[in-house]
């Protein structure tokens, strides 16, 4: 079928297939920023275009239907790489973060402003109702529109974008715009899918229909005959290498309990065979023709089933220890079925895989028994969190090619160096043969800390020599990717009548699913990022993680902390209620302050003894008081909704970390180009959060140079030095500090070189804006461009290059408090989130506008986990809600009616220019804050995620 239409005002003609979607036609025509995040579900809006001036989902339109139509795509908004007012306003408002949907959002906002010159909040909400934003929440989209309206009307912004911090600094703590913002918002090539070469192969997976089964045989004979099939990889021909998917420190605190393909499948959706083919259709056909004979086994899905006597072992393989081998291992390994494979422990995790225990940890301070005896009241409660999916808009993807005999991976990853190490191990090649290029990451949220697609993609290319694309569907994200661990958290807490807590005991039982990636550290985090909030002498924790046959788990923003926080804060609030003391007073009475020695940390290291340190800079109390004032704690709320609605308030105090002191390490290089501009090569992996912008700002600040003249190259294992990666809230603190040190070292080299060239004493020289050296003694100046020209002229001392390396045992702990006000309809159970206030101490927010948006985004994610999201498995272990609509992520309609993020002014001693981490902590408050508010409104303490209308009504005994 031939169709004629205009695309971005240019007449075009296409021959299209009947079933071809408009999006497919547009992508083939080069409009690759018309993306697909939902497999044609008509939900996420990544595929938004205008047809005859109306926004539509291009995936739901057949190309054959647009004959004669005018089509506008997001890349058609700007001409000649010139940002439009709307695009610039989006960058300035801080909402262009991981940005997979930013071009589509820019199109929608431009469409809106073309129709309405000064839209209301309701009109903006309406325009954005069909686009899913996971990274930045939606709140600052309103700000972006306001800025654009002001710019159009007056030529400049009148509204302050974000508060400024550190008056003495020029760039740090000020709004500036993300350095990769223009590329992302205009829809330029940025993501892995934008790098594909024509003719690349596709890798697709045949996945297990069973939650637990041995693979007796796989017959690929017929499948291999399909034209275009290049290779089929199975357990019978893949490398016999055990590894694990978590990109963590080396040696990893996780067992190596999987191969590329295993003889036993351990969850519905587990890999059975990988088909490399020249077309997706050929791969699909081959998958259909593969014959597999399974020996189906009894699965276990819950912690209770896994720990039951006689439960089948999910990982019954032979245990192998690389260090710290326990006594009696040979006897323990007796009778292991070889089809179970092996479990290789880099060091002991106190596991018992025969009984499904993947890891365990225990610790205590003081005397908990005595503490409970001293209490006037003791309560013990058990809380259950659900399995939730990270849902990055860009599903997991990898594109691998052979280049000059080396394996090059275009990856959407948080951990380029761990990825290189793990892939090299899987392919059994040295690391110098692997080149990882971290492209822009369209949302990670922890899930891209795991090596979930890159291992198979890389191996497929290595053995075939063909370029290979492996791109998950949305459904695969649910049943074959990492998710948040379901946890059962039991909290026992005792307190005196005045609210002073005498003892806390936490028992965490975590469900790691089929593999043990993060099995120790996520559950420990439930304790290590919550118990240190309390100034309590007697505390004890027990953490046990179980293997089961649910879809895989892993890292998710907040790690284990949201679950621990939920249990601990809910328990404290209920105890306060029973004691008749004010919950806020109780929190203030028991929360830590600067200087308090955190003895509890001794037992909370990640597989080793933790560092006992005093509380450093701490805005916790200030956050609680600020939030209390904002939400008018203690004052009866006005109920304008009628008698069927009950209003309640709640809050939670929260903390996280800034990377992993003693484990993380970051490095950066700073060099001066021959015109005096600066190139920073950072190991840090910017996953959309603005880490590259931090590197630019700290470099500009130190070297007194305009940010325009600083470029960051990051996350490329060939051109940047080592960094452990972007996880555990390490980016600002570790990678930022590495860039800062590199800049400081380059400054020293500039001064030394200038001293020689200017024939001055180095101690008399200063760097001065904009990019020159000045003598305080003689007043002489030397521009960087002249300095470097001389240095590189053939008679000088060569290019100025400096390294920065950062590792520390010091902690920079972010603190905060999140407050919620809910209205609950006591007839239908509906819950309305009327207010949500996130108050946080992030040290010096280097990018304040981006920091605020990350708080909004993280808070909205955790609101989703608290109220809506939960993966549901049927009795066979099939995830039956593996789509956005069925799963239920929060969109703009679910935003709190009054949503505020507030950054406190706290200066940390160890962070770069006083900065601490920002976004992970913001996932920790919503569940307890909302849970407490619901209890305040209805008297119902909901002990399981999500807090549904039905649970409220059941708690009230309505049916």
């Amino acid at each position: 079928m031939i169709i004629n239409c205009t695309i971005n005002s240019k007449p075009r003609s296409f021959e299209v297939e009947a079933q071809q979607t408009l999006r497919s036609m547009l992508v083939l025509d080069g409009h690759f920023c018309v993306r697909d995040s939902d497999d044609c579900e008509g939900f996420a809006g990544s595929d938004t275009v205008l047809i005859d001036g109306v926004p539509v989902y291009a995936n739901l339109v057949l190309a054959g239907e647009v004959d004669g139509c005018e089509i506008v795509t997001p890349d058609g908004l700007s001409d000649k790489r010139q940002l439009t007012i709307v695009q610039q306003a989006m960058i300035d408002a801080g909402i262009v973060q991981s940005a997979y949907n930013s071009p589509a959002a820019a199109l929608l906002l431009t469409w809106l402003l073309n129709r309405v010159s000064n839209p209301t909040r309701e009109q903006i909400k309406e325009a954005l109702s069909g686009i899913f934003i996971r990274d930045a929440g939606y709140e600052n989209y309103y700000l972006a529109v306001k800025l654009a309206v002001e710019k159009i009307a007056t030529g400049h912004y009148q509204t302050q974008i974000a508060p400024a911090f550190r008056d003495e600094l020029r760039y740090v703590g000020k709004t500036m715009g993300k350095v990769d913002g223009p590329q992302l918002v205009m829809g330029e090539r940025a993501f892995v899918e934008d790098r594909l070469q024509e003719g690349c192969c596709t890798l697709k997976m045949l996945r297990s229909p069973y939650a637990s089964a041995y693979i007796r045989s796989i017959d690929t004979t017929e499948a291999e005959k399909v034209e275009g099939v290049v290779k089929i990889i199975t357990a019978f021909n893949c490398p016999d290498v055990y590894y694990m998917s978590a990109g963590q420190g080396n040696p990893e605190p996780s067992p190596h309990d999987r191969r590329l393909f295993n003889y036993k499948v351990r969850h519905v959706g587990d890999r059975v065979a990988g088909v490399v083919a020249e077309t997706a259709e050929a791969a699909d056909e081959a998958i259909r023709l593969i014959k597999v004979e399974y020996e189906v086994l009894k699965p276990v899905f819950t912690v209770e089933e896994a720990m039951a006597p006689g439960a089948p072992a999910v990982q019954g393989g032979k245990a192998v220890y690389l260090s710290g081998q326990p006594e009696g291992l040979d006897k323990y390994n007796e009778g292991s079925d070889p089809r179970e494979g092996q479990i290789v422990y880099p060091f002991p995790l106190h596991s018992d895989s025969k009984h499904n225990v993947a890891s365990s940890a225990h610790g205590a301070i003081g005397d908990v028994k005595k503490g409970f005896e001293e209490a006037d009241m003791v309560i013990e409660r058990t809380y259950q969190t659900s399995q939730v999916q990270c849902t990055p808009l860009e599903t997991h993807i990898c594109y691998s090619v052979i280049d000059n005999g080396r394996l090059t991976l275009h990856a959407s990853t948080q951990v380029p160096w761990h990825l290189r190490r793990i892939v090299a191990n899987v392919c059994q090649i040295p690391e110098n043969k692997v080149h990882v290029i971290k492209e822009r990451v369209g949302g990670g949220y922890g899930s891209k800390q795991d090596i979930l697609v890159e291992d198979a993609c890389a191996y497929a290319t290595w053995i075939t020599g063909r370029p290979v694309l492996y791109h998950n569907t949305r459904a695969e994200e649910f049943f074959a990717n990492s998710t948040r661990h379901p946890m059962r958290v039991t909290v026992k807490m005792g307190a005196r009548k005045d609210g002073r807590i005498t003892a806390i005991q936490m028992d965490v039982r975590a469900n790691t699913g089929p593999y043990g990636n993060h099995c120790l550290t996520v559950p420990m985090n439930a304790c290590s990022k919550t118990l240190p909030l309390f100034k309590v002498d007697n505390m004890k924790f027990d953490v046990t993680t179980y293997y089961t046959n649910i879809p895989p788990t892993g890292a998710y923003q907040g790690y284990g902390a949201p679950k621990g926080s939920y249990g601990l804060m809910m328990c404290m609030a209920e105890l306060a209620s029973k004691l008749g003391v004010d919950y806020l007073d109780m929190a203030l009475k028991n929360c830590v302050t600067e200087g308090y020695m955190l003895e509890i940390l001794k037992g909370l290291g990640e597989g080793r003894e933790g560092n006992v340190v005093p509380v450093g800079s701490c805005g916790l109390k200030e956050a609680i008081l600020k939030g209390a004032q904002m939400i008018e704690w203690g004052k009866a709320p006005v109920n304008a909704l009628g008698p069927d609605w009950k209003i309640g308030k709640g809050f939670a105090m929260i903390q996280q970390g800034s990377g992993l002191p003693g484990l993380d390490h970051s490095t950066a290089l700073a060099k001066m180009a021959t015109d005096g501009t600066i190139i920073v090569q950072s190991g840090g992996a910017d996953i959309g959060t603005g880490l590259d912008t931090i590197s630019v700002k700290v470099t500009s600040e130190v070297l007194c140079i305009d940010p325009e003249f600083v470029t960051v190259i990051s996350g490329d294992t060939d051109s940047a030095p080592f960094d452990t990666g972007a996880y555990a809230s390490s980016g600002t603190f570790f990678s930022g500090n590495a860039s800062l040190i590199a800049a400081q070292n380059l400054k020293e080299k500039i001064l030394a070189e200038a001293a020689l060239q200017m024939e001055e004493d180095k101690d008399d020289l200063l760097l001065e804006y904009p990019g020159q050296v000045v003598s305080s003694r003689t007043g002489k100046t030397l521009l960087y461009k002249d300095l470097i020209h001389t240095a590189c002229s053939g008679t000088g001392r060569g290019q100025l290059i400096a390294q920065g390396s950062f590792a520390t045992k010091a902690s920079a702990v972010p603190y905060g408090a999140h407050f919620a006000q809910v209205a609950v309809n006591v007839r239908t159970g509906e819950i309305r989130l009327q207010k949500f206030y996130a108050i946080q101490d992030a040290g010096t927010p280097i990018n304040p506008e981006l920091a605020l948006c990350q708080m909004y985004g993280a808070a909205l994610k955790s609101i989703g986990h608290s109220l809506y999201e939960s993966m549901i498995l049927d009795e066979k272990g099939v995830c039956i809600n593996a789509s956005f609509t069925d799963y239920g992520v929060p969109m703009i309609a679910e935003m709190p009616e009054d949503f505020k993020a507030v950054l406190l002014d706290v200066n940390d001693a160890y962070g770069p220019f006083g900065a601490k981490s920002i976004s992970e902590i913001a996932t920790n408050g919503a569940a307890p804050a909302i849970g407490v508010a619901i209890a305040n409104a209805t008297g119902v303490w909901i002990k399981t995620w999500p807090f549904t209308a039905e649970k409220v009504l059941r708690g009230m005994g309505r049916f």
């Binding site: 079928m1 579900e41 938004t48 109306v54 926004p55 539509v56 339109v61 239920g888 039905e950």
Partner: protein
């Protein structure tokens, strides 16, 4: 997904093609037929260019063309508020720009956004059968007819003065609704889309409303409607039953 697309240039042509192809499907806005998880069809007959996108008065009745989109209906001064309330149950503006009234009726979703409202408004459909005979039928009859996909909906006809109230209960604005219910007092009409069950006429509620009952009586009668209600991923059967009663009582109470 469809395997072949034909663009009809006239209503007669569309019907003629359909008459010769049992597996063909009329393709309107595309939000159902082209969506993830939709059924495979041999051929899609696009009816987007048949000028069935007009909203007009025909005597005392409002006629809404089958390919009028949700957005177009919302922007029309002729469309009554009761229907507009139901149209807004589809929360995504982008989807509302594409979804058509006729297409959503034909889809007969068990969490239909608009069928309960249209049933409560006692709406009629102007349809064309495979033999090109044109007739009017009640929307409820269309919904109840398992073979109605053969019919091409041309217009939706309703009384613009019809006064109804609707509620949709879902976990998020874009999740599938557990219950969408609409009620009219005069005439006494009540209809619910119950996820996992389908579109249900609430006859007990209708009789109770006709008798002037409300409050606890309607709660009880609504929750005891003799339809099969099932547990699903969105809500338990018990909660849905409870809601049937609560919503019936609240909607009727609100209209009174």
């Amino acid at each position: 997904m469809i395997q072949k697309l034909t663009i009809a240039q006239s209503i007669a042509q569309a019907v003629n093609w359909k008459a010769h192809c049992a597996d063909c499907i009329y393709l309107s806005g595309g939000t159902e037929v082209n969506r993830l998880g939709s059924e495979d069809h041999q051929e899609g007959i696009s009816i987007g260019r048949l000028n069935m996108d007009e909203i007009r008065m025909e005597g005392s009745m409002l006629a809404i063309g089958a390919t009028v989109t949700f957005t177009e209906a919302l922007e029309s001064d002729l469309v009554p508020m009761g229907l507009k309330q139901a149209l807004r149950h589809m929360d995504s503006m982008t989807k509302r720009n594409m979804a058509t009234i006729g297409g959503n009726i034909a889809a007969k979703r068990d969490d239909s956004y608009i069928i309960p409202a249209l049933v409560a408004m006692d709406a009629k459909l102007s349809v064309m059968d495979l033999d090109r005979s044109q007739s009017q039928m009640s929307l409820w009859d269309y919904v109840s007819d398992p073979y109605s996909s053969r019919l091409l909906i041309i217009d939706i006809l309703l009384d613009p003065k019809a006064r109804i109230a609707s509620r949709r209960i879902s976990r998020t604005a874009q999740s599938h609704a557990s219950i969408t219910m609409s009620i009219s007092l005069d005439p006494a009409l009540a209809c619910a889309a119950i996820k996992g069950t389908g579109i249900v006429r609430l006859e007990g509620v209708e009789k109770a409303i006709a008798k002037g009952l409300g409050g606890k009586d309607l709660e009880r009668i609504g929750s005891e409607e003799p339809c099969q209600v099932v547990d699903d991923i969105h809500a338990s059967a018990a909660y849905k039953r409870y809601l049937l009663g609560i919503l019936a009582a609240d909607l009727a109470g609100g209209l009174r």
